[in-house]
């Protein structure tokens, strides 16, 4: 039987626009994943530590305020410090195309910009299933 994949959907930073994050959470549940939802205004540290305790396979970060260049890499950093660098990180929100290569380099493997269908997120997760299956 295939492993039940666990995904954390988190909102770092201070913006309260959680429509997208909640949609993704709900749609990933409908796709058969267990989704841990932490709510808005979470510090990168809180998100990373939650991800470790929940032993999730993926962390999806949503941010609309423009603070992604500071906050997304910070989540990656704390995860590494906690010894959880096998967790796969993706992000979404109002993120200019120019910022994506930098985020990729910082360890955010995929960035989904506005208008991305949820299927792309599910495809991304399934494409990486093998990497998390053995946990």
């Amino acid at each position: 039987m295939a492993k039940t994949i666990r995904v954390l959907v988190g909102k770092p930073g201070l913006d309260g626009h959680d429509r997208g994050a909640k949609y993704v959470a709900r749609a990933l549940k409908d796709a058969g994943y267990e989704v841990i939802y932490t709510g808005i205004r979470q510090s990168p540290e809180a998100i990373a530590k939650t991800a470790v305790q929940e032993d999730v396979d993926f962390v999806g970060l949503s941010l609309l305020s423009g603070a992604h260049n500071e906050l997304f890499p910070e989540v990656v950093k704390v995860l590494k410090a906690e010894g959880a660098d096998d967790i796969i990180i993706f992000g979404g929100g109002v993120i200019p195309e120019d910022d994506i290569p930098g985020l990729n380099k910082a360890g955010v493997e995929a960035v989904f910009t506005p208008g991305t269908p949820i299927k792309d997120v599910v495809d991304f997760i399934e494409k990486n299933r093998e990497r998390v299956e053995a946990k």
Partner: protein
Amino acid sequence: MAEQKKIQDAQKAWQETTLKKVTDRFPERKENFTTGSWNPAERVALPGDLSEEAYLSKLGFPGEFPFTRGVQPTMYRGRFWTMRQYAGFGTAEESNERYKYLLNQGQTGLSVAFDLPTQIGYDSDDSHSVGEVGKVGVAIDTLKDMELLFDGIPLDKVSTSMTINAPAAVLLAFYIAVGEKQGVSKEQLRGTIQNDILKEYIARGTYIFPPTPSIRLITNIFDYCATDVPKWNTISISGYHIREAGSTAAQEVAFTLADGIEYVRAALKAGLDVDTFAGRLSFFFNAHNDLFEEVAKYRAARRIWATVMKEQFNAKSEKSQMLRFHTQTGGSTLTAQQSDNNIVRVAIQTLAAVMGGTQSLHTNSRDEALALPTEESVRIALRTQQIVAHESGVANTVDPLAGSYYVEGLTDTIEEEAWKYLDKIEDQGGMVQAIEKGYVQKEIQDAAYRAQKEIESGEQVVVGVNKFTIDEGAPTGLLKVDPALREVQMKKLAEVKASRNQADVDRTLAVLKEGAKDVEVNLMPLIVDAARTYATLGEICNVLRDEFGEYKESIIL
């Protein structure tokens, strides 16, 4: 009634002959046509109740109860709506430049966007503020920043709207103090603070304190302004963010008015007379793409509010019964793809707001799904309003869509739906309880989920996103906020702290702390005193945090 029967018979005949001939050969594009919020869109709308009584009670005349046709008798024949572009980013100095530019371009009011730390009562040097300083608006830590923000802008000449909620009292205090420095008295200040905490819990997320002390601060402001800042709009009860979170048009009306009802109740409970504050209440709605439904929405909202104020709260003054509102075009309707198309969307939404009788309007810029708008984009957005005002002719007559069978029908439908929600919220013990239960959030989330599913399945077409797509390069020329801005702001803050009289700060904050403990004390004058000493926003809010506690999000999806 006889007329109606005749029309219905004629319709039947038409359906069986003329219509049938066509639909047999050419079926319609789809089986069910609905509005953007899933209200039925009839093929051919028919007149409703044609009687004089119905006209007089449901529509009446502009400037008179129930204000369906508008709150002023002449509407835009007297004066256009206030064109008010929401702006602010980076430091106070940068935003000040943008304001002066907008005023030079013919804008008639200012609208201040604050960054998220400011909106949540954190100073720029707070650890919570990392990455957020100056991003979605201007960073304000102390009175000093506010002085720079309005440098060279005489406060007796402009009206200023501030999108600020949880710490609204503090920012208003800063504004009052800037006025004093410019020699402008409180009585002359004109503007609005958003000051609507309930929708923060529902949809926007920039809350600080729990509901009870938050509502106390709001009623303190009502009370203080009624005597000291009489031209100030003390609250802008906002459906905008509720709609952005994914609600339907009717939910936007219902939940906004339910918030309004809660504030009126709180003020009455605090001992205020309804007619002393109700005239200063204002509203803030969204404008989406379904033109006719949006116009109907504003008309229905006016009719319901007038009825609530007159019948439920016995407001005598007509001012108290009028629903005056600001509109912003729908941010969530903007697409990152083929972003110039957004200019067209904004134009339609502008028409909706104007034909719906808005008092002021912000038009979004084409690039806002990608970043903060550039100067050029902001200019096009403002020009859109100016074209509608000066060239389209829609401002020449009051309530131009009145009497459209379709629009009148939709107005009734939305009104009915909204009343149903208002009843359900009453049954739960009012809006605070309905929010704490998660009822309101759940209704909105379900609508949002449904809409998104329809977009993903292609049932709802979004041009450039799920249909008529093209391969396009990365957009260029986006506005970037300098990431080093926090350092700049922190340095400024340190300088202010070094040069102020610390004893004055400590004294005024201690008085505020004592006042917070006693629910009978109006905190507004105490906050103004603290503001004058250059106490920081964070310091003031932390005093209140210690006394009031902090609100925690408690609703899952």
